[in-house]
C-alpha cells in the first residue's frame, strides 16, 4: 500500500502575523515558513505505519510555487520516500487543491491519504472532506488515534462532545489532529540524504485542473483590539472588580 501525505507550506505557528496597512494582505516578507504543524503529524503517522510493515511507500505532496520544495525536502528528511510538487503560482483554495490531489490519487492509487485537520494560515479545515467527497471514499476527520486492520481502519476522532470512533474501509482520507502523535525531529544526515530522494514536479495544468470558482478575497483587516485591562494586587481586589462589573 502507498500512503499519500499532504504537506502545505505555511507561515510558522510562532510568527505573529500582521495585516498590511493598506488592507491588501498580511505581511509575509522575511517571515519564517514551515510545514503546516498538522501535516508533520500526518507524515509521522504515515512513517510509523510504513515502518510497522503496513505500507510500502510514503509520498509527500504539496501544491504551490517552487518554494514549497523546501517543505517537501523537510518531509523527505523526516523519512518520506519521494515527493510530488503540484506546481502552481495560484493561491489554491481547498476545492482546487482537492481536485488536484484526486488526479495524483488516480496516478498513484494509494490505500490511504493523510492530511492535516486544518492549514493554520487560512484555517479552512476543508481539503480532506472535499477530497473524500470527490473521490467518493470515506473520510475520518480530526483523528487522534488510528488503527489499521487489513482493509479497514478504526479511527478515534476528537469531536466537541468527546471522542468518537468510526470504522472506514480503505482507501480513505483521514485528517489528523494534534494528539495523534509527536512528530520526530529531523537529523542533519537525513537532510543530506533527502537531497537525493526523488521530487517530481507536475504543473497544475498538466493535471487538467484550473484554480477556478474561487471565493474572491477582498479587504484584510486586523482583528478588533480589546481595551487595555488593569492589574489587581490580590484575590480580594479581584472579587471587588468582578462585583463592580456585575459579573458575580
Amino acid at each position: 500500500m502507498k500512503i499519500l501525505v499532504g504537506i502545505k507550506r505555511v507561515v510558522d505557528y510562532n510568527v505573529r502575523i500582521r495585516v498590511l496597512s493598506d488592507g491588501s494582505g498580511v505581511d509575509t516578507d522575511g517571515v519564517k515558513m514551515s510545514v503546516n504543524p498538522f501535516d508533520e503529524i500526518a507524515l509521522e503517522e504515515a512513517l510509523r505505519i510504513r515502518d510497522a510493515g503496513n505500507a510500502e511507500e510514503v509520498i509527500v505532496v504539496s501544491a504551490g510555487g517552487d518554494e514549497c520544495q523546501q517543505q517537501l525536502r523537510t518531509g523527505l528528511a523526516m523519512g518520506a520516500d519521494r515527493a510530488i510538487q503540484i506546481q502552481t503560482s495560484a493561491d489554491l483554495q481547498p476545492l482546487s487543491t482537492a481536485r488536484a490531489f484526486l488526479k495524483i490519487i488516480e496516478r498513484e492509487d494509494p490505500g490511504l491519504v493523510l492530511l492535516g485537520k486544518q492549514a493554520i494560515d487560512d484555517d479552512n479545515s476543508q481539503t480532506a472532506q472535499m477530497l473524500a467527497a470527490l473521490w467518493d471514499r470515506p473520510q475520518a476527520t480530526f483523528a487522534s488515534k488510528l488503527e489499521l486492520d487489513g482493509q479497514s481502519a478504526t479511527v478515534t476522532r476528537e469531536v466537541d462532545a468527546g471522542l468518537e470512533t468510526i470504522e472506514v474501509d480503505l482507501p480513505a482520507v483521514i485528517s489528523v489532529d494534534l494528539r495523534l502523535n509527536e512528530p520526530r525531529f529531523v537529523k542533519l544526515p537525513d537532510i543530506m540524504k533527502a537531497k537525493r530522494k526523488p521530487l517530481d514536479v507536475i504543473p497544475l495544468e498538466e493535471l487538467g485542473v484550473a484554480a477556478e470558482g474561487n471565493l474572491e478575497v477582498g479587504h484584510y483587516a486586523p482583528p478588533p483590539q480589546r481595551e487595555k485591562g488593569i492589574m489587581v494586587e490580590d484575590a480580594a481586589q479581584l472579587v471587588e472588580e468582578l462585583k463592580n462589573r456585575g459579573l458575580i
Binding site: Q126, P138, D160, I166, D169, Y220, V239, L242
Partner: protein, 312 residues
Amino acid sequence: MSRILIIAEHDGQSLNVSTAKCVTCAQAIGGDIDIAVFGKGIEAIAAEAAALESVASVIAVDAEHLAAPLAANWAAEALALADGYSHLLGPSTTQGKDLMPRIAALLGVNQISDIMAVNTANSFKRPIYAGNAIIDVEVPNGAVVVATVRIASWSAAASSGSGSVDVRAADSEAVAHTRYIGLKSGGGERPDLQSAQRVVAGGRGVGSEENFKIIYSLADKLGAGVGASRAAVDAGYVPNDMQVGQTGKIIAPDLYMAFGISGAIQHVTGIKDAGTIVAVNKDSEAPIFEIADIGLAGDLFTVIPELEKLLA
C-alpha cells in the same frame, strides 16, 4: 431573494444551540429560512427547530442510517434537498466542519469557513491566521453559498416562532464504507463550554489531573463551565473536549478566568470574544496579561482558595 437551508446539529435528544445561532446568521443574510433535521426518532428535535424565530419550515428526514452524524450519509441527504436553495449553512462545530465541506465539494463549490459577519447575501467576514486577520470573502455570482457559521460570533435566535414540520423518508441510501462505532463523552454535568456564561480554565500551570480539582471546585462555586489549554489536555490533566483555542473550541462567555495559562496566540484566539477576561499567572510578564481585562500576578494555588473563601 435568498432561500437558506440550515443543517441542524443535535445529539439525538435535543437541538444543539449552535443551530439557533445559525438562524441568527441566516436572518442577517435575509430571506426564507428552512432547517433540515437528519436522524432517527427526531420529532421532538424538529419541533424545537420549528419554534426558532423566523424559521419557515423544518424538513425532518427520519432514517436509521442518519441516526449517527456520519458526514458521508448526511452529505448525500443534504444534496438531495439542496435544489432551489441559495445558501446551505451549518455551525462551525466539529460536526459542521466535518459535513459542510463534503456537501460543498459535491455541489462543486468552495466553502466559506467561520462566518463572523454578513456584508451582503454573498459577501462575508471570516477570520484567518488564528484570528489575527479578518478578511472579506465574496462568493462568485450565481454560485450556491455553502458555509459554516462561527458560533461565538452570533447569539441564539429566540424560540418564539412557529414554523411547519414536514417529516420525510430518506432520499439517499446508507454508505457501506463508513461505520459508526460510538461516542465516549469526556464531560460531566457542568455547563457546556460553548454556551456557558462563565468559564474557568486551567493550563499547564495547574500541574496535574489531581490539581485540576481546584479548578472544578471554583467553577462549581460560580456555576461555570471548565476549559483548558492544549498543554493541559496534552499532559492528560483533562479530556480533549475541554480544549479552548484555534484548534479547540472558540467560546464567548461573559466571564473567562484563566489560571496558569501563558496566553499563546493559539489559545487566545479561542477567548477573544469573551466579555471579560481574567488572568491569574505567577509570571507577571506572561502574554495573557496583554489581553486580560483584569490581571493578577500570583500563584493560582494561593489565589483560588482565597477566591473561594471570598465567594462563599
